[in-house]
């Protein structure tokens, strides 16, 4: 499959994520949109990595060059998992305190 398809798919996912973050007020949905953006990036990384690997493998079957992008994806997933746990914990605390997950209530930093 041409690389273009992956790029467009990732672009679409990323845009959906951005629009979601910008338009929604529910903290959980925003959180999900952020995950969407992260995964768009992951998708791109995997796609480019595969493309480079195939190019290198054509010259040398035993090569591992170009696979590091895929490794990065695992790192990102781990970090994202950690981030999700922290983020969800914050949202739970927020709900306990103000009985809402609407981010527009969170404007106390201004004062």
């Amino acid at each position: 499959m041409p690389i273009n398809y992956y790029i467009f798919l990732a672009l679409a996912l990323f845009s959906i994520g951005i629009v979601g973050v910008l338009t929604r007020r529910n903290a959980i949905i925003i959180f999900m949109c952020i995950e969407l953006m992260l995964n768009a990036v992951n998708l791109l990384l995997v796609a480019f990595s595969k493309m480079h690997y195939l190019k290198n493998a054509a010259a040398d079957a035993m090569t591992t060059a170009g696979t590091d992008g895929q490794l990065f994806v695992f790192f990102i997933m781990v970090v994202a998992a950690a981030e999700v746990s922290v983020g969800l914990a914050i949202i739970v605390m927020m709900y306990r305190n103000i009985h809402s997950v609407d981010i527009n209530f969170l404007n106390r930093l201004k004062h």
């Binding site: 951005i18 973050v21 910008l22 981010i103 527009n104 404007n107 106390r108 930093l109 201004k110 004062h111």
Partner: protein
Amino acid sequence: MQNVLQIVYLIPLLPLIGFLVNGLGRKHLSKSMISVIGCGTILASFVLSIWVFLQVKGGNTHVADYFNFISVGALKIPFALQIDQLSSLFLLIITGVGFLIHVYSTSYMQEEKTEHFGRYFAYLNLFIFSMLLLVMGANFVIMFIGWEGVGLCSYLLIGYWFKKQDYNKAANKAFIMNRIGDLAFLIAIFWLIAKVGSVSYTEVFSAANLAKLKATDITIITLLLFIGATGKSAQIPLYTWLPDAMAGPTPVSALIHAATMVTAGIYMIARSNLLYSMSHITMDIITYVGLATALLAATIALKQNDIKKVLAYSTVSQLGFMFLALGCGAYTAAVFHVMTHAFFKALMFLGSGSVIHAMGGEQDIRNMGGLSKKLKITFITFLIGCIAIAGIPPFSGFFSKDAILLSAFEKSPVLYGIALFTALLTAFYMFRLLFITFTGKFRGTQEQEHHLHESPVSMTVPLIILAVLSIIGGFVGIPEVFMHGGDKLGEFLSPVIASHDGHKVSHSTEYMLMGLSTGLVIIMIIFAWIKFKNYQRSEATGFGKVLENKWYVDELYESIIVNPLNKLGSFFSSIFEKSVLDDMVNGVGKMVNYGSRQMRLLQSGQVGNYVLLMVVSMVIIFVIQFFLRK
């Protein structure tokens, strides 16, 4: 083996130490301690100077190089002192006359508070240090350091009685006028560096470098140096500071404004005589400026009534004579006149100090008269000074003035005529001063008459020594016509000063010129005697009034330079600064205030807004980068 002259750094160092000790300890030392330190350091320098002079006379000249003072790229300016015939002669004059004046000062300034007494001697020592640096420096930069140093000391000492606002103004005037000349001097140094790549005398005056220089460059450099000299040596148009500088204590006037500092310009030109000899334009300008100054100042001196002002204008006039000699190429004659002038003018200033001391601070000669009975030593020494300056043989002034007149005659008889006329005026106003002050009836108050007394020994001894020097000082330069090989000074200076290309005037002419000038001078003195032996106070009228008011030159400067500058200054301070500069500065502050107030609105506290802004900014950055990469 190192040259023994390597230790000449001691000569300027000793006065510097004296300055530091007296300056820092002025509140703790007693007056006698201060006097001993102040005079002792100069005496030590004087003894060293004599030793140096004997070394030089024995044929030992030396450039003592101590350390690298400035080093930029290819340009290296060493801190070096040059000992040769010219500088050793000046060393003797400065430390010798300086020492006598220091001794004189110990009595003259006795009434000052200890603290101010210490300040006075500290300044005086600092002056000697600077002056020694000026004449000993082996390059123009070291000379410039001394040049600025003497200017500073002159300023400090003119404004010594700083509680009187007029004196401060006089000090400012001297300093600012000197600055104008100093600027030209500085530009000349830069010009030299640009064209020759060096400032040390030996390199600049080497034949190869002189041949390399273009005629226009030489003219510009010499002219700029000459402008520097007009400032320091009080020539037209920068002479007006010197008469005002009489605000300082009288010994200061004697030391700085008669004997040494004001001759710095002559020293500089004599030092660079090789350069000057190559530019006829500059030489002509120097001749005319010198002659004009001599004449102008002599006419002003005719009608002055302040004893020190007469002497001040006389100094300006004599300096004009020296420049006339320089312009005619008679460098030796100029240096000779510097020497004799240092003797008799210091003598007369110190004499006037003695008179002022006796009169209890009175300086107006109209209130004096008949002082010869009470102040015998002062009168006799003053008379000797007057005879010397008037130029009656065999007093010192005759020989040096005759050498100058002769050089003027060789250049052009017209110059000689004007110079002779000026010399006659000199004799006239000096004897006018003498007769008004010392003969006739006393015209002051009773109290003053009662107070009249001869000055103490420490004041009269320097007077006597200077009087003796004024009598015999001329014998080092006896003209060829009187004695073959009599011009010892010219012989001595010949290694540093390009010799004056022989006397073109026949001996009989020379005798005639001398006879003429001496005869006329004696007639002038008799004329002054008849006119002023019984002086009665009278108001000057007509042309006399113009002279009394110094040709209104000060008023002219006031109206065409000072006032417009003041107006411009007050315009800038009251209008330009308030409306333009202040608004600009305040405007910056206001703009930042206003801008930050607007920017604050962005901080809404809404997370959504922040994210939106972030996204928009990133998109903008991407777009910009996208276009920039093209």
